[in-house]
Symmetry: C2
Subunit: 320 residues, 2 copies
């Protein structure tokens, strides 16, 4: 891996984060984007190792993603799941026929002793992705969602229960023993990065697991590269997924200010710039009181151009 | 499992044997056919447990099999294999999208602690198969083919190398520790069987592994039910697969007589009736000299009627 001083590191969960990662990849020279992915959503299912956020990044950045839903593959078919249903197997987590190949390949390579980082790099190369995608750790971290219905493994909460139970908290099992991705630590320590972008991913279940890998958030804070956070909450709604619902249930204001308080409370001094949507411009003064420099732009990404525009805006912050 | 005195036990490998098993299932009352399947062809591949002969029986007897090739599923698709190829994975053993469901289900249930017998019974029930299908043993037995190119695991010889290397012998790894299927032993010991049919499967790699599970062939010989062997060789050709090629390479005459000598030499007293094809009628005297009672009929099974007719003929042997 080579990195020039113009390299950018993005922290990302799944669909929402991958949108901005795609914009960043479009705007940067080939090989200059590095993405650190959440693996707290990973789970073992049907004897396979599923890495949903890594796969969403791989599929999005390779151009193979299903453009309507943002996850999974375009032209996907469901013969295996339909047959598995007939056999009485578990089908609540839908694995498409093409997608199964990724999991079979990953499982085989992990069984051969490769690390998740190595497997991910191989998959990216096979798919022609020149963005570097890294798991936050090669050690297993598994998000448990505490809910009023009891504790649920993340995918049971997210997919099987479709986020219905009210959230009371989270645990990232294994995190205290997880070692941060070495390549990313090296990028940070070597001063190779011009910027760190925290994509508009879910703060609680996508970004927190990454930042709570021991040593990681302090390394990000102490790196000379400015850290730019893009708000996942726009006009009181989540750009994608259950972030707004979770904030309501946790008693956090469902606003960009609530997001800012989350990050400045848990990771003081980490975020330099906070990108909020035009529709939230009136929140700027109260956010700046938290010590964050606010930048305002359109943050909703529908088209490819939207993604590029937001990426360009983000990359322009902190320039002299 | 219930078995009346009219129950029939068939020994079968894959495609060739499954044809006669289908005819027998058609001719017998529901639930009266028991099939003991070879598992020497089983292997672990892509982290899955593949049981080719059991699956061919399941698919054939459920009516889901691909009617042209005799193995695999009708209407199968290959999205997973095509994607796996792109990812640089192993695709020499082609697993269809529908077929993958069987292997995912089997793997998950084995990992949960079910035996291969239990998993197989569950798959049969899900597919509406009322024939009882048993693995010869729940313990792993793996056929190695000794060839002039070195030793090859069976599927490497059979699928990857397409039976090209010349065979010099076989080994069934694990067989001395393998315990025979208990349900079948009980059928034999309880005198519940009216007949045992050795299907026209490959003597070396389909039937020998079954008969060499410790205790099995002697239990078959000592059971009061007559044992009827259907020749897999007709007019010097194998009905299916590499049996004739193997016989040539091993220096065995490629005739029904060669088959008879194989069985009477290795398993003396086992076979009571030997069913040969009309085209081999002139071999009857020399076969009878080996102590087998010869029965002559058409043995080539193309249509469903052919299968039923041969099944009827077989079931009529030994009647008073």
């Amino acid at each position: 891996m080579t990195a020039s001083a113009d390299s950018v590191l993005a922290l990302s969960g799944g669909v929402g984060g991958a949108k901005l990662a795609l914009g960043l990849a479009d705007e940067l020279p080939p090989g200059q984007l590095h993405v650190l992915a959440n693996t707290g959503d990973d789970f073992d299912h049907l004897g396979l190792h599923i890495s949903p956020d890594i796969d969403t990044l791989l599929y999005t950045l390779s151009g193979l993603a299903n453009p309507e839903q943002g996850w999974g593959l375009a032209g996907e078919t469901w013969q295996a799941m339909d047959s598995l249903q007939r056999l009485g197997g578990e089908t609540w987590f839908r694995l498409g026929d093409k997608d199964l190949a990724t999991h079979l390949r990953r499982r085989q390579q992990l069984a051969q002793g490769l690390s998740l980082s190595e497997v991910t790099a191989g998959l990216a190369a096979s798919l022609g992705v020149d963005t570097h995608i890294y798991p936050m750790s090669d050690d297993p971290v598994r998000t448990t969602v505490h809910t009023t219905d009891g504790d649920l493994p993340f995918q049971h909460y997210f997919v099987r229960e479709q986020c219905r139970p009210a959230v009371t908290g989270f645990n990232f099992d294994g995190i205290s023993a997880a070692r941060p991705n070495r390549a990313v630590l090296r990028l940070l320590q070597d001063g190779q990065l011009s910027r760190v972008v925290i994509c508009p991913s879910n703060p609680f279940v996508s970004v927190d697991p990454i930042l709570q890998v021991p040593g990681l958030w302090l390394a990000l804070r102490d790196s000379p590269a400015p850290v730019i956070l893009v708000s996942p909450i726009v006009a009181g709604l989540a750009l994608k997924g259950p972030a707004a619902k979770m904030m309501t249930e946790l008693g956090v204001p469902v606003t960009a200010t609530g997001v800012a308080e989350h990050y400045s409370g848990r990771y003081p001094g980490l975020v330099d710039y906070f990108v909020i949507d035009e529709s939230d411009v009136t929140l700027a003064p109260e956010i700046e009181e938290l010590g964050l420099e606010v930048a305002v732009t359109k943050t909703i990404m529908k088209s490819r151009d939207d993604k590029r525009r937001l990426a360009r805006f983000t990359l322009g912050l902190g320039e002299d």
